[in-house]
Amino acid sequence: MKKVALVLLLLTTLFASDAKLASTIYARISKALSGVSEPKIYLHGEIKAFLEYPLANPVKSCMEADVIITTTMQSLPIECHEKTLFANNYRLLRSSPQIVGAFFWSKGRPNIVFYKERLDRHGITLSDEYERYIEE
C-alpha cells in the first residue's frame, strides 16, 4: 500500500519527508553547537522525527553527550544542566535559562532561535548561516 503512495509522492515531488528533514536539522544544529563533526547526542524526552530517523550518534547518558536535545527539564539530572541544551519548544527555551536555543513551530511556520547571552555563556560561536536565528 505504502509503495503505491510512495510512487505517487515521488511523482509529485522529490523532497524528503518532514521527519527526515527535522532529524537532519537537529543533527546540523547539534554539529554547529558542539563544533565537532559527529557530536554525541543525548535525547531527553520523545521527538517523533527520531522514531523514524534515529540520531546518528546517540549516547545513553547525558553526561557523555556533547549536546542534549530535550523536550522537558523534568528528571534531567542536575549534573547535566550545564551541558549544551537545545529544546524542541519555545516555552521551554523561555522558561529554562540553561537552554541555548530551540527548534519549534509557531505562527504556522518552523522557527530556530538561539539566545546570544546563553551561547556566550557556553562559549559557543555559531557560523554566519545561523546569524539570523540569534536573538539578543
Partner: protein, 631 residues
C-alpha cells in the same frame, strides 16, 4: 527498488550539503498538513493547500468552489450555497457533502451541510480537499458526488495568534482572530470571526431584492495525540433573497440561521480503531412580505406575508477498525445516524398552519467494508461495499430504503504517469425536504441510483503536470419538481451526464505557478430525454511571489446552457509583507463585473402558468482591502 534507494541516498546527500535556511524552507513544505491528509488514491482529488488559499486570498469556500470543474459554485433562491441548483427547487446539492476534519457537518433536513457550510469562512481552515465522485470509506460512508473536506489549523503548527481585518465594497467587512497553544500533552485552538457579507441588491419588478448576510462564528478544539473535541457554532442574519416561495419577488425578506456542531474523534490501538461522535443542531427562520399576493400551491393560498421555521438535529456515531496485511489494508465499520427534522411551521398572512409531517425522525444504520489490495508495487485495487438501512417513525405507510453502495477503484503508476479508474454505484435516499416538505414534498419519492465511471490520467514532464479527467454517469429515479402537480416526482427517464476536463499546471520557479483548466460536460433532462444542457468553462490562474509581494491572477469563463448566463470573471490580488508577521492585501473579484450568471424563477402564476425569470451574477464585483497580523 534500486532507483528508490538511489533517490533516498541522493536526498540524504543533498540535505547534508544544503544551507540551514533551505532545510527550514523544505521542512515547512514537507510538513504542510495537506501532505499528511491527502490521499491521491482515495478519489479524484482537487487540493487547495494552505499556501494556495493564502496566496489566492480566498476568504470563503466560495472563492475556491467557483472554479471547481463540473461543480462550479452557485446559490439557491434563498441565497444559500447550492452548486447543483435546479431552481425553483430550494436545494439540490444533497450529494455534495462537507466534512470538518473527521466528521460530517450535516443538515438533517437537506441531507448535507452544503447549504450551511458551502460558503464558510476559511480563516481557521488550514487546507481544503475536494474529492469528486464517491471517495473511499475512510473519507465517509455516505453516498456523494462530491466530498469537501475542511481541515482546521493545527495548534501544534500554529501556536500563537492572528488578527485579520478586511473592508470591502458595498460595505462588506470581516474581522476575525484566533489563538492556539500546544503543550506537551494537549493543545487548544480558538477562533472567533465576524463576516459582513454586504451584497448589492437586485432590482426586479419594482423591488430591491437583498442577499446580504452577517455571520458570527466560533470554532474551538481541544486535542491530545489520539483524541480531539471540537465545538463549532454560528449565527447568520440576513436577507432571504427570492425566498423559498415561487410567485413574485418579495418587497422585503429576512433569514436567521442558528447552528451548533460538536464532535469527538478518538483513536485507539495504534490508530487502527477509530471512534467518531458528532452532533448538529440548527434552525432556520425565514420571513417575507409581498406587495402582490403570491399563490402558494397546492391549496392554493393567496399570501402577502410569509414566515417559516425549520429545525434540524442529527447525531452520528461510527466505529472503524483497520487491519494491515502483507498485500492489503482492510477497513470495516458501522455507523449509526439519527436525524430529527421539523418543517411544519409556516405562517401565511399571520395565520400559522401547523402541518403534521408523515415522519420527523429517521435512523440510518450503515455497515461498510473496504479492501485496498496492492496487486504489484505500482498497482492498487480498492473494493468497497456499504449497506444502509433506513428506519422512519412514519405515521403513514412509507418505504424504508435499504440501500447498497458499491465502489471499485484501480490505480496504476508509471515513471511519470498515474492512471486512476473508479467505478461506483450509489443509491441516494430522498431527503426530508423533498418528502415531508409541506409545499412540494412527496413521501412516495423513490431512492435515486447513480452509476458512474470516472477516469483520471496524469502525466508529469519536468515542472509541468498534465491531467485528463473523463466521467460518465447514469441517474435513475432522479427527483424533479413537476410544473403541473407542484410536487417532487421521481423521473421515469434515465439522466445521462458526460464530463471531461484537461488541466495543466506549470511551476516556473519554486513559488510561481500557472494553472490551466478547460472543462466540458453535458447533462440530459429528467423531464424530456431529447433535451440536454452543456456546461463549458476555462480557468487560468497565476500565483507568483517576488520577495515581499504575492500576486494572484485568475481568469474564469463559464457557460451553462444559455449564452446569456455565460461570463468572464477576472480577479486580481496583491499581498505585501513589510515584515514577516504583518501583511497588507488588496483584491478585486469579478473586476469587470462580467462574471457568469444564474437564472431564477422570479414570477410564476400557477393559474395560467405564466413564468418570468431573472439572471443574477453568481459572484458579484467586489474589492477588498485588508491586513493580517501574527503575534
Amino acid at each position: 527498488m534500486i532507483r528508490r534507494l538511489l533517490s533516498l541516498s541522493l536526498i540524504s546527500s543533498l540535505l547534508s550539503a544544503a544551507p540551514i535556511s533551505d532545510l527550514l524552507n523544505e521542512y515547512e513544505k514537507a510538513s504542510d498538513l495537506s501532505q499528511k491528509t491527502k490521499d491521491e488514491s482515495a478519489g479524484n482529488l482537487i487540493l487547495y493547500t494552505r499556501d494556495d488559499i493564502e496566496r489566492m486570498q480566498a476568504q470563503t469556500l466560495k472563492d475556491l468552489l467557483k472554479t471547481v470543474r463540473f461543480f462550479y459554485y452557485a446559490e439557491n433562491r434563498m441565497g444559500q450555497p447550492d452548486s447543483l441548483n435546479q431552481d425553483p427547487v430550494t436545494f439540490f446539492s444533497s450529494s455534495m457533502r462537507v466534512y470538518m476534519n473527521d466528521h460530517e457537518m450535516l443538515s438533517s433536513t437537506l441531507g448535507s451541510g452544503f447549504a450551511y457550510f458551502g460558503d464558510i469562512e476559511l480563516d481557521f481552515i488550514d487546507h481544503v480537499e475536494i474529492y469528486e465522485g464517491f471517495p473511499q470509506m475512510d473519507f465517509g460512508v455516505e453516498p456523494a458526488t462530491m466530498v469537501i473536506r475542511l481541515y482546521t489549523k493545527d495548534a501544534r503548527h500554529d501556536s500563537g495568534g492572528r488578527l485579520k481585518l478586511n473592508v470591502g465594497s458595498q460595505g462588506a467587512n470581516t474581522q476575525n482572530a484566533y489563538y492556539s497553544e500546544a503543550f506537551e500533552d494537549f493543545s487548544y485552538f480558538a477562533y472567533l470571526g465576524r463576516y459582513d457579507n454586504a451584497r448589492k441588491s437586485i432590482s426586479e419588478d419594482g423591488n430591491d431584492i437583498g442577499r446580504s448576510s452577517v455571520t458570527n462564528r466560533f470554532y474551538g478544539s481541544l486535542a491530545t495525540e489520539d483524541h480531539r473535541f471540537e465545538l463549532h457554532g454560528y449565527e447568520q442574519d440576513g436577507d432571504a433573497f427570492l425566498t423559498s416561495l415561487i410567485g413574485t419577488p418579495p418587497e422585503s425578506s429576512s433569514q436567521e440561521i442558528r447552528a451548533i456542531d460538536m464532535s469527538l474523534h478518538s483513536a485507539f490501538l495504534d490508530k487502527t480503531l477509530i471512534f467518531d461522535l458528532s452532533y448538529f443542531k440548527g434552525s432556520l427562520e425565514q420571513k417575507a412580505e409581498f406587495t402582490t399576493p403570491i399563490i402558494v400551491p397546492p391549496k392554493p393560498i393567496f399570501a402577502t406575508s410569509y414566515e417559516q421555521k425549520l429545525f434540524d438535529e442529527s447525531l452520528t456515531a461510527s466505529l472503524k477498525k483497520a487491519w494491515k496485511f502483507e498485500h492489503s489494508e482492510m477497513i470495516a465499520g458501522v455507523q449509526f445516524r439519527r436525524k430529527w427534522f421539523d418543517l411544519g411551521h409556516a405562517t401565511f398572512n399571520g395565520v400559522t398552519m401547523e402541518v403534521e409531517q408523515a415522519y420527523d425522525e429517521q435512523d440510518i444504520y450503515s455497515f461498510f467494508l473496504q479492501d485496498m489490495i496492492s496487486l504489484r508495487e505500482n498497482q492498487m485495487l480498492t473494493l468497497s461495499i456499504t449497506n444502509q438501512i433506513y428506519k422512519m417513525d412514519s405515521k403513514v405507510p412509507v418505504e424504508e430504503p435499504d440501500l447498497v453502495q458499491l465502489r471499485a477503484g484501480y490505480i496504476i503508476t508509471g515513471e511519470a504517469w498515474t492512471s486512476k479508474t473508479f467505478l461506483t454505484r450509489q443509491q441516494f435516499a430522498p431527503e426530508p425536504y423533498m418528502t415531508v416538505n409541506p409545499q412540494y414534498g412527496n413521501i412516495d419519492l423513490k431512492s435515486e441510483t447513480y452509476t458512474q465511471v470516472f477516469q483520471e490520467f496524469d502525466y508529469k514532464v519536468a515542472r509541468s503536470n498534465n491531467r485528463i479527467v473523463l466521467g460518465y454517469g447514469q441517474r435513475e429515479n432522479m427527483p424533479y419538481l413537476s410544473d403541473t402537480t407542484f410536487t417532487m416526482l421521481s423521473s421515469d427517464i434515465d439522466v445521462y451526464t458526460f464530463s471531461s476536463a484537461y488541466e495543466f499546471t506549470h511551476h516556473f520557479r519554486e513559488n510561481d505557478k500557472f494553472e490551466f483548466q478547460a472543462a466540458y460536460s453535458r447533462s440530459s433532462s429528467p423531464v424530456d430525454d431529447s433535451e440536454h444542457v452543456d456546461y463549458k468553462s476555462v480557468v487560468m490562474r497565476m500565483l507568483n511571489s517576488y520577495e515581499k509581494v504575492d500576486l494572484f491572477n485568475e481568469f474564469f469563463w463559464k457557460e451553462n446552457g444559455s449564452s446569456s448566463q455565460s461570463g468572464i470573471d477576472y480577479s486580481l490580488g496583491v499581498r505585501y509583507f513589510p515584515i514577516r508577521d504583518l501583511s497588507f492585501n488588496i483584491k478585486g473579484e469579478n473586476i469587470f463585473d462580467s462574471g457568469p450568471k444564474w437564472q431564477y424563477t422570479s414570477q410564476f402564476d400557477p393559474l395560467n402558468g405564466e413564468t418570468g425569470y431573472i439572471e443574477v451574477p453568481i459572484i458579484e464585483r467586489r474589492f477588498w482591502l485588508g491586513m493580517e497580523y501574527l503575534f
